[in-house]
């Protein structure tokens, strides 16, 4: 009882000589409840707040951050169009990567041993090669295959084209990002599909629903519940992963920032420009992820939890109702 300041109402220890009345429930209901005080929590919170304040103070006062340079560049045309390219690379690589990944996932799940093995080998290879190595490989594709063509396998070629003309630098970056992403997406999609109760497929099969429709309408929407959190991670990872294509001199965000500070020497504020954009874009993606996940959670809960917006609106409404009411609001369900 070291930390409580008030004696517990039922404490019968001590050297009280006067005879005590037996406490009955009626008496207890009238007593005031003193909540436990968490001194440790307060101290920890204080320490963390001091450290945070110190850091914020440094951000504002340390001249090395050069916030005026940050302000001059963060919305400049060069940077904004570089952000556009970063977004395009992310979007295309996400769509292509997850499309190919879904195909690979179902190949691995199929009963056809050739498809299974090929999909397994693809995932094994592309997870083994660092993305940067792969990107440089695709960049140098023309050294490996000078011309790409269509024709009969191992037979005559009807139509062919110079590899560099067909693919180009951005194309090579996109292929690299997508193929890399597909290997990871395949495993994420496969994980989602095998998490769906087998009874769902059996019920769909028993109803005679065609195979493709079973997958599209019954399995995938339920698999999405398990796929989305990891897929969100992957897309955010990809957004930042696009910065690796700077090795191919593609004008995405990180490459442009490097070009600018290489010219003017303001390294720190320009790195902050890139940081701010990556944080902003990741935040947008995180919010989008929340709402997409919510949509696929339909039917998973008896009553879906309110969104942060709905919660804020409810709180506001309660505040207004409380202000209009003269009597103090009583908490529902009594004391905790």
């Amino acid at each position: 009882m070291g930390l409580t300041t008030d004696p517990a109402p039922l404490d019968t220890g001590g050297t009280d000589l006067a005879p005590r009345k037996e406490a009955d429930p009626g008496d207890l209901a009238a007593l005031r409840v003193v909540p436990t005080r968490h001194y440790g929590r307060w101290a920890a919170a204080l320490a963390v707040l001091v450290l945070t304040a110190q850091f914020a103070h440094g951000l504002v006062t340390n001249p090395v951050w050069e916030w005026e340079v940050f302000r001059a560049y963060v919305l400049s045309e060069t940077i904004v169009s570089a952000v556009g390219l970063t977004l395009q690379l992310t979007a295309y690589a996400t769509v292509l990567g997850f499309a190919l990944g879904t195909v690979l996932a179902f190949m691995r799940l199929s009963r056809n041993p050739v498809l299974q093995t090929v999909a397994w080998a693809y995932i094994w290879i592309f997870r083994s090669i660092p993305m940067i190595v792969q990107l440089v490989f695709w960049f140098n594709l023309s050294a490996l295959y000078e011309r790409l063509g269509l024709g009969i396998p191992f037979g005559p070629v009807f139509w062919s084209v110079d590899s560099n003309d067909l693919i180009g630098t951005i194309g090579a970056a996109l292929i690299g990002l997508s193929l890399h992403q597909a290997a990871y997406a395949a495993e994420i999609v496969r994980g989602g599909v095998i998490s769906v109760d087998h009874g769902q497929l059996e019920a769909a099969a028993a109803l005679g629903i065609p195979r493709l429709r079973q997958i599209r309408r019954i399995v995938l929407p339920q698999a999405m519940r398990a796929i989305l959190p990891t897929a969100g991670n992957e897309i955010i990872g990809l957004l930042k992963g696009t910065s690796v294509v700077y090795v191919m001199a593609i004008g995405e965000l990180f490459y442009q920032v490097q070009v600018i500070y290489g010219r003017n020497g303001h390294v720190i504020p320009l790195l902050m420009v890139a940081t701010a954009w990556y944080v902003f874009l990741t935040s947008v993606l995180s919010v989008a992820q929340y709402y997409v996940e919510r949509r696929f959670a339909r039917g998973a809960n008896r009553t879906p939890p309110p969104t942060p917006l709905q919660r804020a609106r409810d709180a506001l409404a309660r505040l207004r109702a409380g202000a209009a009411d003269t009597a103090p609001a009583t908490p529902r369900g009594g004391t905790a």
Binding site: E202, A203, A206, G208, P210
Partner: protein, 254 residues
């Protein structure tokens, strides 16, 4: 006598070394209700699952309304059907699972509408009208917009029955439809099945509810060790079993 709807002949089924069915014969006529009884592990559920080809038989054959299930006969050979054709055959067979297996991400209405639209290619409007009629029949017209997890177990099983009826099957198979339910919810599901029996739906019901089997079944078949040990009207099998194993089973469950 009415025509034969379900004909099971000499069906064997093994899972690895485990022989579950060892030559089952069963005949169900149109409009008849057959209750399958038997101790656990006797092969009741497996028999139901081979009837709509969720499991392939190792030997023997099954036909529904004269159509061989899972195979096509040509001369002296049986050709395995492609999945597409098996799926088409399954639209003649309704199946109600012990654990309902409703689609949790679809509303009650969409659960019932899905198969008529996807498997039978009915126009959605027509399928919705049918679904509403069927939901009313199982007493859940007001739940069309709810999701399965918002319903009680008994309500979910009634939706599952409506879903199975929506493909207008020639025969309905029930795999222990009330075993996963709280005792007080069993009655509402049994009432729906009784109503179907009165309207002349052909049904095969695996059940542990002996009283229900007596009331609703035209035929009771007792399975043990992968064979039909005894088969006949409920009065005969349940009250005057001829076979020792039937007597032993009934003395335990009654």
């Amino acid at each position: 006598m009415s025509q034969v709807m379900v004909d099971v002949r000499g069906v064997h089924k093994s899972f690895g070394a485990l022989k579950v069915l060892r030559g089952v014969d069963l005949t169900v006529r149109a409009g008849e209700v057959t209750a399958l009884l038997g101790p656990s592990g006797s092969g009741k559920s497996t028999l139901l699952r081979v009837i709509n080809h969720l499991e392939k038989v190792n030997r023997g054959w099954i036909s529904i309304d004269g159509e061989l299930i899972g195979y096509r006969r040509s001369g002296d050979r049986l050709y395995e059907l492609r999945e597409r054709d098996i799926l088409r055959q399954r639209t003649h067979i309704g199946f109600v699972f012990q654990h309902f297996h409703l689609f949790p991400h679809l509303t009650v209405l969409d659960n019932v509408v899905e198969a008529p639209v996807a498997a039978l290619r009915r126009p959605r409007k027509e399928a919705v009208a049918t679904a509403e009629r069927l939901l009313a029949r199982v007493g859940l017209a007001d739940k069309a917009g709810a999701y399965p997890r918002q319903l009680s177990g008994g309500q979910q099983q009634r939706v599952a029955i409506a879903r199975a009826l929506a493909i207008e099957p020639k025969v309905l198979l029930f795999d222990e439809p009330t075993s996963a339910l709280d005792p007080e919810l069993v009655g509402e599901v049994l009432d729906v099945i009784k109503d179907l029996a009165r309207s002349g739906t052909t049904m095969i019901i695996v059940t542990h509810e002996i009283g229900f089997a007596r009331e609703v079944a035209d035929t009771v078949a007792f399975l043990d060790g992968g064979v039909v040990v005894e088969q006949g009207p409920p009065g005969a099998v349940l009250d005057a079993p001829r076979h020792e194993r039937t007597r032993a089973f009934l003395s335990k469950v009654l």
